[in-house]
């Protein structure tokens, strides 16, 4: 038996099917979840994919956070359901207060799409266990509002507790504080990041690398061994 990993489709989600493919390639079973449906259909983990849910109107992630499916995701995440937020999914997680801080527009005011170098800072979360701490990887990044910000107290706390999961290397593509690309909650079951690991899972397409696959094998191993 393999793990069932849900991928939520909000109106305006874009990388939902790509994330399902990455889950499949890792050997798990992707399950499509619909934003209007509170039922998580017995999934073992949930991914909130990238995109422009609700057109990013008001603020990226601000409306999706109130969708019916998020009620259950928020409730379950608090008691240990593994949740990964990619790009817009990360934005939704901060809007839902499952992760601290928030995202502002890129400091250069342009959309940016590039293969981004990162350092894995925390390899102890549900979604990063197949990496080693300090490992350098390349993951595609593509966003308009990717500048991670938080108040100084929160930043210090994140750093002190080792909750910065990924950091931009060589080039900070959006002005994120402390070069933060992704963070985790205290329990390590909720992870959010701006880059898109689902676009680095096959040598032939996307960035041509497979540096993103460990996200999905990490969670699979954790769930299957649980």
């Amino acid at each position: 038996m393999t793990a069932r990993i849900g991928v939520v489709t909000f109106p305006g989600s874009l990388d939902d099917r790509d994330t399902q493919r990455a889950i499949r390639l890792a050997g798990a079973e992707p399950v499509a979840l619909w934003h209007k449906d509170k039922n998580l259909h017995q999934v073992d983990a949930v991914v909130l994919p990238g995109g422009f849910s609700y057109g990013d109107y008001l603020r990226a992630g601000a409306i999706s956070r109130f969708s019916p499916v998020m009620e259950t995701v928020i409730e379950q995440a608090k008691v240990g359901l593994p949740v990964l937020g990619i790009c817009n999914g990360f934005q939704i997680l901060t809007e839902a207060h499952l992760l601290p801080g928030g995202m502002l527009g890129n400091d250069h005011l342009h959309f940016i799409c590039r293969d981004q170098k990162l350092r894995v800072e925390n390899a102890d979360t549900a979604w990063t266990a197949d990496y080693t701490a300090g490992q350098e990887i390349h993951i595609p990044l593509k966003n308009m509002d990717g500048r991670y910000v938080a108040d100084p107290y929160t930043l210090d706390k994140l750093e002190a507790e080792g909750r910065v999961a990924f950091r931009y290397l060589d080039f900070n593509p959006n002005g994120s504080l402390n070069d933060i690309a992704g963070i985790t909650n205290e329990a390590g079951n909720v992870v959010g990041l701006m880059p898109h690991p689902e676009h680095a899972v096959e040598p032939l397409v996307g960035s041509g690398r497979t540096d993103g696959l460990p996200f999905f094998t990490s969670i699979l191993k954790k769930l299957v061994n649980a």
Binding site: D18, D56, F111, C113, M144, H199, L204
Partner: protein, 752 residues
């Protein structure tokens, strides 16, 4: 004329002497008289609105039609063509039960007025054309042309256009995989913003724009209709019919990509459940176009109640509703028993959908407003029987002098040092420089099937994960060549796009074009247009790639000065297994570099003549389509059989530009030797067509040479992938670092 009583058909018949503002709406006197003749009475205001927009140059192709017919008359036999010219977009069979639809359109004028929204809605429009064929859009490409790179207005237009394309396309989840960015002072007041899109479907999913089956319902869905994009109609609306209303509305539409994304998903779901009999997107001419085209392509008539159209602005008049170009709207014809399910799907995606009419067994398009019949026409007369002009054309008197001003006679670099300087200048020039600053604002990863994207020779998308089947697309156009010789310039555009597709390993199948020209009322421009169409049609016939559709954009001129004639050609190709694709980047040191094709002294219209001498004159490179076909066959075979590891087509900038790009992308240099019989300058800068540079692993050298020899393609060994310089032996060497700086810093310095 007042709004009361309502200008119904009955009222129009009873008041034959009422003057209508046909001239303000852009109709000529004889065109208006033709409308009166067709109807046997004066048109109502609503009918006039419909005829005026549908008979406009943009919708009716009245100046270009007589020439465009050649694309049909000279169409090559092609088993691949499933749907040809005349539908929303052409459809091509790519095997394994898949069909691909693609098209390029222009959104030039609006993008100059309002760069962001103009470009954004250009993407939106072309994507709806693709959905309307039944396909899921899988990629977009954007061929762009701007004024001089250092002109202050370019800094206004270009960033806005790029942000608009990104803002809309990124938000739709469509990878942007190709296109071009060209600068030339001739586009200063007339930037060309062309947008192309590709969609994929199964053969059985092809949908057409026709309303058949009496009793079937006509459903308008998507955004509410507002006063945006009424264009000429604003005159009708705000000055003539009712002075009390909000005046002049903006003529540029405003896009909402979020709404369009919902429209895509909801339409595809309706297709999947086989709920749709016919479908049409609402683009230019809005409801006027959708209703008249659906009705005229179907078997019956249509009755529409305009009061049921959901409005953003309740004060809109029926004429405005008919002419509004509000974005993100589609019109579907659905059998009555399937209407509920269709509306359910729309509701699931939070898309507003309304039954606004039905198909009748008559042959009239009838439209009602407040209970009165305000339109009663034969829809074919609106959609298809527009005026056709045989515009006078004549070879301009300056053409001979232009061609006599031979670029081959320009002073050439004499020493290795001068060559080196000119190479550095070339790769740093705005047209030859890296466009990464622009393309990094486009998402090229989304959908997870992008195999190749810009700056590769063609964009490539995997369409089947199991088999690896994929499609490639390249767009090309060189206005400088076309200015020197429009017939051959158009052929060179096709040849280059065809070659680019083959260079990546895909087999070219079909063509779409976007023909950008000046005013058709200028006989010189009309001659350029006629020549370009003739050249393109002849070349398509010879290469066996039919034109499946496209777009004409005229009046691209400011005052008396027209843009360079700029036919932009998109070629679609298919590749059996995308794992076999050939990239531009050098892969491995030690691999041998071969030049395929013949190099002649051809500098007319070249990048070198522009960059070094600011010169445009002489003749463009010679066209040899049989050679192009042979070269393509060799490139495709070599890719399939694993004989080459990288390949780059030679075009503007010549061999040195291609080698520098391959070197920078691969992070590996090259040692080049000038072949016998060529001087270093011609070797590096000539723009002879029908050429490519390939990198061959040593293990494949014999096999590759044998293949070229057996098929009669000239092949010359010119060097090896090696080191961290581009070293032309005996002449000069430039480090990759220096080349990278020169190549990559130009555009950000000008525009960021």
């Amino acid at each position: 004329m007042s709004r009361t009583p309502l200008d119904t058909v009955e009222h129009a018949a009873a008041t034959p002497d009422v003057e209508l503002p046909w001239a303000e709406l852009g109709l000529k006197k004889d065109e208006y008289e033709r409308v009166v003749e067709i109807l046997g009475r004066r048109p109502t205001g609503a009918e006039l609105a419909m005829y005026s927009v549908m008979w406009s140059e943009h919708c009716s192709y009245k100046s270009s039609k007589v020439h465009l017919r050649q694309f049909g008359e000279k169409a090559p036999q092609s088993d691949a063509l499933l749907v040809g010219i005349g539908e929303n977009a052409g459809v091509v069979d790519v095997g394994q039960g898949y069909a691909v639809t693609f098209k390029v359109e222009s959104h030039n004028h609006p993008s100059y007025v309002e760069p962001y929204q103009g470009a954004a809605t250009g993407v939106g429009g072309i994507v709806r054309d693709i959905i309307a064929m039944g396909a899921r859009p899988v990629a977009v490409v954007d061929p762009l042309r701007f004024g001089a790179a250092d002109h202050p207005d370019t800094k206004r237009v270009l960033p806005g256009v790029v942000a608009g394309i990104g803002g809309y396309g990124n938000c739709l989840g469509l990878p942007n995989i190709g296109g071009e960015v060209v600068f030339d002072a001739c586009y200063q007041g007339n930037p060309l913003v062309n947008a192309g899109a590709i969609g994929v479907m199964r053969h059985e999913d092809i949908h057409l724009a026709k309303a058949s089956g009496a009793g079937n319902k006509v459903i308008l869905y998507g955004a509410r209709t507002g006063g945006d994009g009424i264009g000429g109609a604003s005159i009708l609306a705000s000055e003539t019919f009712d002075d009390a209303k909000p005046s002049k509305r903006p003529a540029v539409q405003v896009g909402d990509p979020f709404q369009e994304k919902l429209l895509i998903e909801c339409t595809l779901e309706a297709f999947q459940e086989k709920l749709v009999v016919g479908i049409q997107d609402l683009g230019a001419a809005g409801l006027s176009c959708a209703t008249s085209e659906l009705a005229s392509n179907g078997s019956g008539g249509m009755r529409v109640t305009l009061d049921d159209v959901p409005l953003r602005d309740s004060t809109l008049s029926p004429e405005e509703i008919l002419m509004s170009e509000s974005q993100e709207r589609m019109c579907a014809v659905v059998e009555p028993e399937k209407v509920d399910r269709f509306l359910e799907i729309c509701d699931k995606w939070d898309v507003i959908a309304t039954v606004i009419g039905e198909v009748t067994d008559g042959d009239r398009l009838e439209i009602f407003w407040h209970g009165g019949k305000i339109v009663d026409v034969d829809p074919r007369t609106v959609a298809h029987d527009g005026p056709v002009y045989e515009r006078p054309y004549a070879r301009p008197d300056w053409q001979d002098a232009l061609q006599a001003d031979d670029a081959n006679k320009l002073p050439r670099p004499q020493t290795g040092e001068e060559l080196k300087d000119q190479v550095r200048k070339l790769v740093a020039s705005p047209n030859q420089a890296s466009k990464k600053w622009i393309t990094s604002q486009y998402d090229h990863f989304v959908q997870g099937n992008t195999v190749l994207a810009q700056p590769e020779d063609s964009g490539m998308i995997r369409i089947d994960e199991e088999s690896g089947l994929g499609v490639a697309i390249a767009t090309d156009g060189n206005g400088r060549y076309a200015k020197l010789d429009p017939y051959h310039g158009a052929q060179l555009a096709l040849a280059e796009a065809y070659r680019n597709v083959a260079t990546t390993g895909a087999k070219p199948l079909a063509v779409s074009d976007c023909l950008n020209f000046g005013s058709p009322e200028d006989p010189a421009v009309m001659w350029q247009f006629a020549e370009a169409v003739r050249g393109l049609a002849d070349a398509c016939l010879q290469l066996g790639t039919p034109v499946t559709g496209g777009n004409v954009s005229l009046y691209n001129q400011t005052g008396e000065v027209a843009i360079h004639p700029t036919p932009v050609v998109a070629v679609l190709g298919v590749i059996d297994d995308v794992a076999r694709r050939t990239p531009v980047a050098f892969q491995e040191e030690g691999q041998l570099l071969y030049l395929l094709g013949d190099t002649r002294e051809e500098f007319g219209g070249s990048a070198w003549s522009q960059v070094v001498h600011d010169h445009l004159g002489g003749l463009p490179p010679k066209v040899d389509l049989e050679r192009e076909r042979l070269l393509a066959e060799i490139l495709i075979s070599a890719s399939r059989d694993g004989m080459i590891d990288s390949a780059h087509d030679l075009s503007d900038g010549g061999l040195v530009q291609a080698v520098v790009e391959s070197a920078l992308l691969g992070g590996k240099g090259a040692r080049l030797v000038v072949p016998d019989g060529l001087d270093a300058f011609t070797f590096l800068f000539s723009e002879s067509a029908g050429r490519a540079v390939v990198a061959v692993p040593r293990s494949e050298e014999v096999r590759f040479n044998d293949m070229c020899g057996a098929r009669g393609l000239p092949v010359t060994r010119i060097g090896v992938v090696d080191g961290d310089t581009v070293d032309v032996q005996g002449e000069f060497a430039l480090s990759l670092e220096e080349l990278r700086t020169a190549h990559e810093e130009t555009i950000p310095a000008l525009l960021a």
